[in-house]
């Protein structure tokens, strides 16, 4: 084949370009540390990375949901603990006066204590988390309970949050299930705790009214059942918290796995890159030097 100077210089330029492009690519990879900077670098990996990024965002959201739901449950659990203590005190009081009393002062004192305990119970049942009543169902415009009657002003809605893909968890315990013994699925018992308090207050009597011993005993037994009802609710909350805890561990694990897959695909292997870079640098230097030397050769130098 006949070779001309122009052919040599064209192919020198072409090869220098190729070498420069390879060096540039390696330099890019080294500087960014990423295998895939644009979708066209590796469309399949790009698909995987975009998909993983999306899943990680979703898991972050589920983790945030779980954390918020957990603190809601902790609030609920604390309120339930308080209610349980109040009922415990009421039971103790009922025990001291279970056969009634002829002393108007003792009757009045027991009466006053019971009235106060009930007020505390109602206050706890009206606990707010943010601007939501935790025992009010979906009604957050007015408190679920009041001190004048025993009616439940909230509703029976159970609020759910998503804690994993297509996995939801009920967050709240409604006041009617807890204190009125109503509702189904879940149902904790059938005792209207607020009414039991009123029964007890009436049965104890006061400074002017005498005690009604059989009614005291009936109310005490109902209170005992009521405290079991509360305990059932407490264990329901605890089991939900256990589930949230498990889910949040699962989410954290999934996130770790996804991030490690992503970094396997995305992160460059610096050792391999370093070797390639030095090989390429050598090749490029050789091609520069060859170009400079060969293109100087001409018959003109000898004429």
């Amino acid at each position: 084949m006949r070779i001309t100077q122009n052919m040599s210089s064209d192919s020198s330029v072409y090869n220098l370009q190729q070498g420069r492009a390879r060096l540039d690519r390696l330099q890019n990879l080294t500087a960014s540390g990423q295998n895939v900077s644009t979708p066209s670098d590796d469309p399949i990996s790009a698909h995987l990375l975009v998909d993983l990024g999306d899943k990680v965002r979703a898991i972050n959201q589920y983790s945030s949901n779980t954390a918020k739901a957990t603190s809601w449950m902790q609030f609920t659990s604390t309120a339930l603990q308080g209610m349980s203590d109040i009922i415990g005190q009421a039971k103790k009081l009922a025990g001291t006066i279970n056969s009634g009393s002829d002393d108007p002062n003792i009757r009045q004192s027991a009466h006053d204590q019971l009235v106060n305990l009930k007020k505390q119970l109602v206050d706890m049942a009206n606990t707010q988390y943010g601007d939501q009543y935790i025992f009010g169902g979906a009604n957050n415009s007015s408190p679920p309970f009041n001190n004048t009657d025993n009616n439940y002003a909230g509703d029976g809605t159970q609020l759910s949050v998503e804690i994993g893909q297509n996995t939801t968890q009920t967050m709240n315990i409604t006041g009617n299930r807890l204190l009125k013994g109503g509702g189904t699925n879940p149902n904790y018992g059938s005792i209207d705790i607020l009414k039991t308090f009123d029964d007890m207050i009436a049965a104890v009597g006061d400074s002017t009214t005498s005690s009604n011993v059989p009614a005291i005993n009936q109310a005490a037994s109902d209170l005992y059942d009521g405290s079991k009802q509360l305990n059932t609710a407490v264990s329901d909350v605890l089991s939900r918290m256990t589930r949230l805890d498990n889910i949040s561990k699962f989410n954290a694990n999934s996130k770790d796995t996804m991030l490690s897959i992503a970094s396997n695909v995305q992160n460059v292997d610096y050792a391999k890159l370093g070797v390639e870079l030095s090989q390429q640098k050598l090749a490029f230097e050789a091609s520069l030097s060859a170009t400079a030397k060969v293109s100087q050769l001409s018959l003109l130098n000898y004429m």
Binding site: N6, Y14, S37, P39, S40, D41, H47, L159, E162, L300
Partner: protein, 465 residues
């Protein structure tokens, strides 16, 4: 036959080697001229005479000055350049589009979609909370901006492709005119037995330039002219010294129609498929609109599915029937028209499933769960928003990658053909310098012939004295 014959042969030699040096100097001067084919001098001996009793030629003469030219290589170069023109244009435009959808490096539509639905998740935990509602509004606005930007970007690309048809057809037309003009000059020069080598080179170079822009087929005629036909319709573009012209029907300002008037023929619509012109048309009519359609499909799907649920939900004050995004009719234009519906404010977001209960989160939960629902109609089965979008990103990546690879192959192929052409027709300085030395020596030798003959003549004259 006498001493004067020797003198005559010497004078002839001086003449032909002067011409040969001229051809060499032309070759040297044009060593870097694109499309130049090296020329060579063909010597031949003159007629034989036997006046001395022996058959001897009476010197040398120039038979012709030829150019090294391979018509098959020219044809292959024309075809290769057409393919390269198409692929390069497509690849360049696709590489300009790719960054808008580079979800790997930047947060784009994909992140905006998942953030929007994550904001609804936050709302399930506090359906009446004003912060959560504000976040949903802000995320919706970001999503809107992303869709509008992507759509505008793609639409702008279509407009640019359309507008580029004007300078492209103008440039094709002027090349066609120049080819026809050169054909005319070549025809005249050949008729007068002149040397048209340079004009042939110029014309062939113009034909190669033209072949990048449109697909052509060429026919070389015996009178030195070359006819050019349009590969996509078969119509003539250049016939002898007459040229046709491309024009644009600009009735629809967003989508010009390419028309062709062949030499001596009537105006007709053409559908360019090859070369840069074909690539521009394909980008304008198929490739970019296809991307736009996918973005529109996603936008419409989000609009419809969110609206479906949102309009059945209730705001904290019990209002219902409110759309979240402005409803879109056809798929086309859904991304451009993607916007937050009129009347939607922080106070009218419908998170509740019950008119009387502002704390209910069932509707917010239902909307949040849309992220995992297969809602986008992408054939069967349908896809989730994010998987649809990541497939789209990957498709653009694949298109760009394969077009880059094709361009690399095209370049290598064209380079190979050009090397072959250069090997055949290119000027080699070493070779020309050698020739120059050779011709110089021959010139000196011819001059020596003349001085020798003069000496001989002097000797003869001296004898007479």
């Amino acid at each position: 036959m006498g001493i004067s014959t020797t003198l005559q042969i010497g004078a002839n030699g001086l003449n032909i080697y002067r011409v040969a040096s001229e051809v060499t100097s032309e070759n040297i001067a044009n060593v870097n001229t694109p499309g130049y084919s090296r020329q060579r001098v063909l010597f031949e001996s003159t007629s034989i005479s036997s006046s001395t009793g022996f058959p001897l030629v009476s010197g040398a003469q120039i038979a012709s000055v030829d150019r090294y030219y391979d018509s098959l290589l020219q044809q292959q170069l024309v075809t290769a350049q057409t393919t390269q023109g198409y692929d390069t244009t497509k690849s360049t435009v696709l590489q300009q589009i790719e960054p808008s959808f580079n979800e790997v490096a930047n947060d784009g539509i994909g992140a905006a979609v998942s953030n929007f639905f994550n904001a609804w998740q936050d709302m399930t935990l506090n359906p009446a909370g004003s912060t959560e509602r504000q976040v949903v509004m802000t995320r919706a606005q970001i999503l809107t901006d992303n869709f509008n930007f992507a759509s505008k970007n793609l639409n702008d690309s279509v407009v640019i492709q359309n507008a580029s048809l004007v300078p492209m057809t103008d440039s094709i037309n002027s090349t066609l005119k120049n080819i026809a003009q050169l054909n005319g000059q070549i025809q005249t020069t050949t008729l007068l037995k002149g040397n048209a080598n340079e004009m042939l080179d110029q014309r062939d170079q113009l034909i190669r330039d033209l072949s990048q822009k449109i697909g052509i087929t060429t026919t070389e005629n015996s009178d030195g002219t070359t006819d050019v036909n349009y590969a996509d319709s078969g119509a003539a573009l250049v016939s002898g010294s007459k040229s046709g012209a491309f024009s644009l029907d600009q009735t629809n300002p967003n989508s010009f129609v390419v028309q062709l008037t062949p030499p001596g023929g009537a105006l007709a619509n053409v559908t360019p498929l090859t070369g840069q012109l074909g690539a521009t048309m394909a980008l304008r009519d198929t490739i970019i609109p296809d991307y736009l359609n996918q973005i529109d499909t996603l936008a419409k799907s989000i609009t419809d599915s969110v609206n479906n649920l949102h309009s059945t939900g209730f705001s904290p004050t019990g209002g219902t029937g409110q759309n979240f995004f402005t409803p879109s009719g056809a798929v086309a234009g859904s991304a451009a028209g993607f916007s937050i519906a009129a009347g939607l404010t922080v106070g009218t977001i419908a998170a509740s499933g019950n008119a009387l209960l502002s704390g209910d989160n069932s509707n917010a939960l239902a909307i949040a769960k849309l992220t995992n629902a297969n809602t986008v109609p992408s054939g069967s089965p349908s896809a989730t928003f994010s998987s649809y979008y990541s497939s789209f990103v990957s498709k653009i990546g694949l298109d760009v990658q394969s077009s880059k690879a094709t361009v690399t192959q095209d370049e290598a192929f064209t380079r190979q053909l050009q090397t072959l052409r250069e090997s055949n027709s290119g000027v080699s300085l070493d070779e020309e310098l050698t020739n120059l030395l050779k011709y110089q020596r021959s010139y000196q030798a011819s001059a020596k012939l003349i001085t020798t003959a003069t000496d001989m003549m002097d000797t003869v004259l001296g004898m007479i004295r």
